[in-house]
């Protein structure tokens, strides 16, 4: 079983700061991390490999520093990693990203046929979740998004059994291999990596590819050039006008509030006191 996990380096949006004057990202404030969903994707691959054996490759597109997220994936348990890094990739939106990644996947597939591709549900910097299904289309394999469980992998029949999260519930899907999954966080918990993985990761040097390493690339589909969407403008979201302040002592405030609420009492379900 050969699983490829696509991983992205993203700024940590939890601590991100925006310069209010220029509406740009304050890079200093945002350390780069492995997209949290992608960490779960790698962990999911590790759990599958425990049952089936095989190889986990990780693939990332980004600047040279993105080797850090490949190393992080090795810590979690991936066997090897590839980074595609080239000026020509810069400024890619999801369409151009899935194109570039699919070129790398073709190359990986030639060397060792790929049985499954796993992506995160979305990357926290863009929150789009469009790259995974895009790759699936380009590789012409079925995508299964929002996966919360991979319950069975049948290598003989070349099928997998998957739980896919829906708005209210889930569905059980059987998909043929090869296929592409995008995973939710609840699919697993990231395990604390064992020391040998840490040492392996510290030593690991990912393979780095540039555009010139690929065959049959249409350069017009890469990077900014290949991106149909552009950012028009950035603005701070309009703040709605505030309403009325209820003034007075605490008791007066509570009384006024009660009056307001009693006007809406049909919405309330007042429990009888026991």
């Amino acid at each position: 079983m050969h699983i490829v996990v696509c991983v992205k380096q993203v700024p940590d949006t939890k601590i991100i700061k925006i310069n209010p004057k220029t509406n740009t990202l304050d890079r200093r404030s945002a350390p780069a991390i492995l997209n949290p969903y992608d960490a779960h994707a790698v962990q999911a691959a590790v759990s599958i490999r425990e049952k089936t054996g095989g190889t986990i490759s990780v693939l990332s597109m980004g600047p040279p520093q993105a080797t850090a997220v490949i190393k992080k994936s090795i810590e979690i348990g991936a066997d090897r990693g590839f980074l595609i890094s080239d000026r020509a990739f810069a400024g890619a939106d999801t369409l151009a990203t899935s194109y570039a990644l699919s070129k790398a996947l073709e190359k990986i597939n030639k060397e060792m046929p790929v049985d499954m591709i796993i992506c995160g549900k979305h990357a926290i910097d863009g929150d789009t979740g469009q790259v995974g299904p895009g790759i699936a289309r380009r590789m012409d394999i079925p995508p299964v998004t929002n996966v919360i469980e991979v319950s069975e992998v049948n290598l003989e029949e070349k099928t997998v059994l998957i739980k896919r999260k829906l708005s209210n519930g889930y569905e059980l899907i059987q998909a043929e291999l090869p296929c592409l999954l995008t995973v939710e966080k609840e699919i697993n918990q990231i395990e604390y990596s064992p020391m040998p993985n840490m040492i392996k990761a510290a030593r690991y040097e990912p393979v780095i590819w540039a555009v010139s390493d690929f065959e049959n690339v249409d350069r017009s589909q890469l990077g900014l050039k290949g991106s149909p969407t552009i950012v028009g403008k950035m603005f701070t979201p309009p703040r709605p006008e505030g309403g009325k302040k209820i003034e007075g002592s605490v008791d007066e405030q509570v009384n006024q509030l009660m009056d307001i609420l009693m006007e809406k009492k049909d919405v309330l379900t007042l429990q009888s006191s026991k």
């Binding site: 350390p31 604390y192 990596s193 064992p194 020391m195 040998p196 840490m198 040492i199 510290a202 030593r203």
Partner: protein, 431 residues
């Protein structure tokens, strides 16, 4: 089979990284283990990096290291409630190569420094806590970490785990600190636009200033405060020995708040935005607190060995230099194939021959003297302020009379003999 390294260094602060760097440069197989998310992520320092010891490790480091500003001015404030007596030195020679020292933000600096060790060939592992040394037949043969399959082995373990050094305590090298051996320091990084900093501190870009503040900065307790300029932020902090904190029932953050709102300090911070709060211990026991620094298969460097000169606020330089000396020792031991205590004791000898122990010895009584004689901070600083105020207030009194009056008030407040005693004691402590 778990791996065996030549050297395991615990802690990627200035001490550990220096040691790892030098060992790796000499081709040793080095594992550097850091518990933080990355080196520097948890590290705290007022922020003055001394050029000399760093340069010994990486020549001309200032050309690429993430430094904030070269320090061209050092000020000292004797601060009272509503006044301050100041002196200092500003020299443009410190603003050009090879510089004197720099302000740094540790989160950035440590990360860069560790990268240098990695480039030299050391393996760096983050987010991993060393829980204990593995000891066999009285010899340290490796470390145990909090990770699954977490044991790793080495000929020598270098403990660079900072002031608390649980690991050297476990080996019995240390006793628990006495409250007068450590200072608790809290600091804050305050973002402020570069132009404002330049205006307020009378600087140009790439010129930095440090202010050490005594007196009311600690409400008169033994300790100091500091205010340093970074590129577009300020580091402000205050610390006192744990013992005075306990005695005076001070809460460290209250002290910092007090300092930040002090009328002498407030205008310099105005409009700034607090970016980070940090708290840390500083070993201040000095010469008398230096523990055993070498054992069978193990050496202790930096803050873990309490190598800090509290009077001059030198720590990172001592950490780096001790890391270098330890590395030299380990390399020699490797050459001899002998990692016994007697072989590694060469490190102790090197340490005692260096400026580190010599400086610590020179000031060995200083903290003690000040701790036991609170008048230095409590009484003399206000006295100096009053004296200056009197002397410079133009009210028609002849200057000669003013001097007499000042002397009289000093001696009446503390008594002539006592004043002479105090001066002598202080001089002896720092001479």
């Amino acid at each position: 089979m778990p791996e065996k390294f030549d050297v395991i260094v615990v802690g990627a602060g200035p001490a550990g990284t220096s040691c790892a760097l030098v060992c790796a440069q000499k081709g040793l197989n080095v594992l550097l283990i850091e518990r933080g998310e990355y080196p520097g992520s948890k590290n705290v320092m007022g922020g003055v990096l001394y050029r000399k010891q760093m340069e010994e490790l990486i020549p001309e480091f200032w050309k690429e290291a993430p430094l904030e500003r070269p320090v061209i001015e050092q000020r000292f404030w004797m601060m009272d409630k509503e006044s301050v007596v100041q002196f200092g030195y500003k020299g443009l020679e410190w603003g050009v190569e090879p510089y004197n020292n720099f302000t740094v933000l540790r989160a950035q600096f440590d990360q860069w420094f560790a990268k240098k060790a990695v480039e030299a060939g050391a393996l760096l592992i983050n987010e991993t806590v060393v829980t204990e040394c593995i000891v066999e037949n009285g010899k340290v043969i490796g470390v145990r970490t909090d990770r699954p399959n977490g044991e790793v082995y080495a000929d020598v373990v270098v403990l660079a785990d900072g002031v608390n050094s649980l690991l050297s305590k476990q080996l019995g090298f240390h006793k628990e600190f006495r409250p007068d051996e450590v200072a608790l320091t809290v600091m804050e990084v305050i973002n402020l636009p570069k132009e404002k900093i330049n205006d307020r501190f009378n600087l140009e870009d790439n010129q930095g200033c440090t202010i050490e503040i005594f007196g009311d900065s600690t409400k008169g307790n033994l300790g100091t405060a500091f205010l340093y300029t970074n590129k577009d932020s300020l580091n402000i902090g205050v610390g006192t020995t744990l013992s005075s904190m306990i005695k005076a029932k001070l809460k460290p953050y209250d002290l910092l708040d007090y300092l930040k709102t002090h009328p002498m300090v407030r205008p310099m911070l105005a409009g700034g935005e607090s970016a980070e709060y940090l708290a840390h211990l500083i070993p201040e026991g000095g010469y008398r607190s230096v523990p055993k620094v070498a054992g069978n298969g193990v050496v202790v460097v930096g803050d873990a060995a309490q190598l800090v000169n509290a009077i001059h606020r030198e720590g990172s330089n001592m950490a780096m230099h001790s890391g270098l000396l330890a590395a030299e020792t380990v390399i020699e031991a490797k050459y001899r194939g002998d990692f016994s205590e007697s072989s590694l004791n060469l490190y102790r000898q090197k340490l005692y021959d260096s400026f580190i122990i010599k400086d610590l010895e020179k000031y060995k009584d200083a903290t003690h003297t000040f701790e036991n004689n609170p008048q230095y901070f409590k009484e003399y600083v206000p006295m100096m302020n009053k004296a200056m105020s009197k002397f410079f207030t133009v009210d028609g009194t002849p200057k000669r009379d003013k001097q007499k009056e000042i002397m009289k008030s000093v001696t009446s407040e503390r008594g002539t003999i006592k004043v002479i005693q105090d001066i002598y004691r202080a001089w002896k402590a720092v001479k």
